[in-house]
């Protein structure tokens, strides 16, 4: 563990990259997931079919395979060759996580009473206005706990990037464990604590939103 503490700047840098991947992927997958859910419940058949197929396909694929696709398979056929690694990592994590966001939101939408959408239609709102101003805001509020879990899972999933060129926390941890394999337990503990801190921050934010929105209703 001493090695870890005497090289603590390396640890912090690695976790900073973890936070960057997680934060960027979080934003992108929330946006993408919202678009997907809008397609899924929307009136256009082709988009509905596309979103349903996409969610079924990607959600049932291991994240590692998504990474291999983006980082190994795609460059072999000439895609993403000069895309920055961080961006590729965010793409891989977001493509995967957005399907879970979509499903969390869909459960949230199901929790919004039908009358809410009917009332919105009755004052002349179009489908997209209805979604944007009435259904989705309420669905988001109802989805905070599952979305929080999705974001936590996503943060831990960023560790897959360690073996795809990104020296984030898990990559740095391997660096330490390879050199000091005898102290693997101590090193693991230090890095686990790092992840716990990040995840707890997400949990707290999630609880905070949940409480605030519950009070507002």
């Amino acid at each position: 563990m001493n090695e870890v503490f005497s090289n603590f700047d390396l640890v912090l840098r690695a976790f900073w990259l973890t936070v960057q991947i997680a934060a960027l992927s979080g934003v992108v997958s929330l946006v993408l997931g919202t678009v997907l859910v809008a397609m899924r419940i929307g009136p256009i058949g082709v988009l509905r079919q596309f979103a349903t197929t996409y969610v079924t396909l990607v959600r049932n694929t291991p994240l590692l395979v998504v990474f291999i696709f983006i980082f190994i398979a795609a460059p072999n056929v000439g895609w993403f060759v000069h895309t920055p690694f961080l961006l590729k990592g965010v793409i891989a994590v977001s493509l995967y996580t957005s399907t879970f966001v979509c499903e969390a939101l869909r459960s949230g939408i199901n929790a919004v009473p039908v009358g809410q959408a009917e009332a919105a239609r009755a004052i002349g709102m179009t489908f997209s206005q209805n979604l944007a101003h009435v259904v989705l805001p309420q669905a988001f509020r109802a989805s905070v706990p599952p979305l929080g879990s999705t974001m936590i899972a996503m943060t831990k999933n960023t560790s897959v990037a360690a073996v795809f060129g990104l020296m984030e926390a898990t990559g740095r941890m391997r660096f330490f464990t390879n050199r000091h394999a005898d102290d693997a337990v101590g090193i693991l503990i230090v890095f686990a604590v790092g992840y716990i801190v990040i995840v707890e921050l997400i949990s707290l934010a999630s609880y905070g939103l949940e409480r605030r929105w519950r009070a507002a209703r």
Partner: protein
């Protein structure tokens, strides 16, 4: 059937040979109904008679299988932008209020004018506050729907519909979900509205309201319009057996 009510009035809502099925169930059977501008039509009938479906069909919250429904001479378009525009002209008040739970009372009333009518926020707010004052909940403007009583919520719902300046107001059993002591405050607002010349279709069991404010009573049973008449004639001299039977049941209590 006598043609009451529409005499001398310009037709605003016209249902022509309307049929609708829920699966095997024929919920609207050959409905022909014309509602004149400024007329207050009260639709009554036993539960399952199709009266709510009729009301909801007028702004196409329920689709119909046969026939046409026209508003101000224009047939209802298919789902889409044109239908949304047309719905903006038709106010609707639901049994369960359906106020937007995540918005304040004021925001509920402003949402339609701002997003659908594209009114400037300041204008919409001024008008919303006037309407809230008119229905007597002006002092609750900053609260959320869940913090209001049922009667207050329903009055807000009326204000929300009025904010769109609709040509016609549809009321789908507006007092059925209310505690008895709150029914009057809602009916008072509706009577006021009727006196102000609003065209109204009201599905209700409130006979008092029908007598006070109604121009015409439409009695429905088993998906058909069985009888139409002025409120006085209908309540004092029902002609059909179904209506007599129905009135005897509800007036006993």
């Amino acid at each position: 059937m006598t043609d009451v009510g529409t005499v001398g009035r310009e037709p605003l809502v016209a249902l022509d040979h309307v049929d609708k099925w829920f699966g095997q169930l024929h919920v609207l059977q050959d409905i022909n109904l014309v509602i004149g501008r400024g007329e207050v039509v009260v639709v009554i009938g036993p539960s399952g008679s199709g009266k709510s479906t009729l009301c909801r069909a007028i702004n196409r919250l329920e689709t119909i299988d046969k026939g046409t429904i026209a508003l101000d001479g224009q047939p209802l378009p298919q789902e889409g932008k044109a239908l949304a525009q047309l719905r903006a002209e038709v106010g609707m008040v639901f049994q369960s209020f359906n106020l937007f739970a995540h918005k304040t009372i004021l925001e509920n009333v402003m949402l339609g004018p701002v997003k659908v009518r594209k009114q400037p926020k300041a204008d919409a707010e001024k008008r919303a506050r006037e309407l809230l004052d008119r229905v007597g909940v002006g002092h609750q403007a900053e609260k959320y729907p869940a913090q209001l009583s049922g009667g207050q919520q329903q009055r807000v719902a009326i204000a929300r519909a009025l904010a769109m300046e609709p040509k016609v107001m549809l009321f789908d059993e507006p007092t059925s979900a209310l505690d008895p002591e709150m029914i009057k405050e809602v009916l008072d607002v509706m009577v006021d509205l009727a006196r102000g010349g609003m065209t109204m279709v009201v599905v209700t069991h409130e006979m008092g309201f029908a007598r006070t404010a109604g121009d015409r009573v439409v009695f429905m049973a088993d998906g058909r319009i069985v009888e139409e008449n002025t409120p006085e004639e209908f309540f004092d001299n029902p002609r059909s057996e179904r209506a007599k039977d129905f009135l005897s049941k509800i007036l006993k209590h």
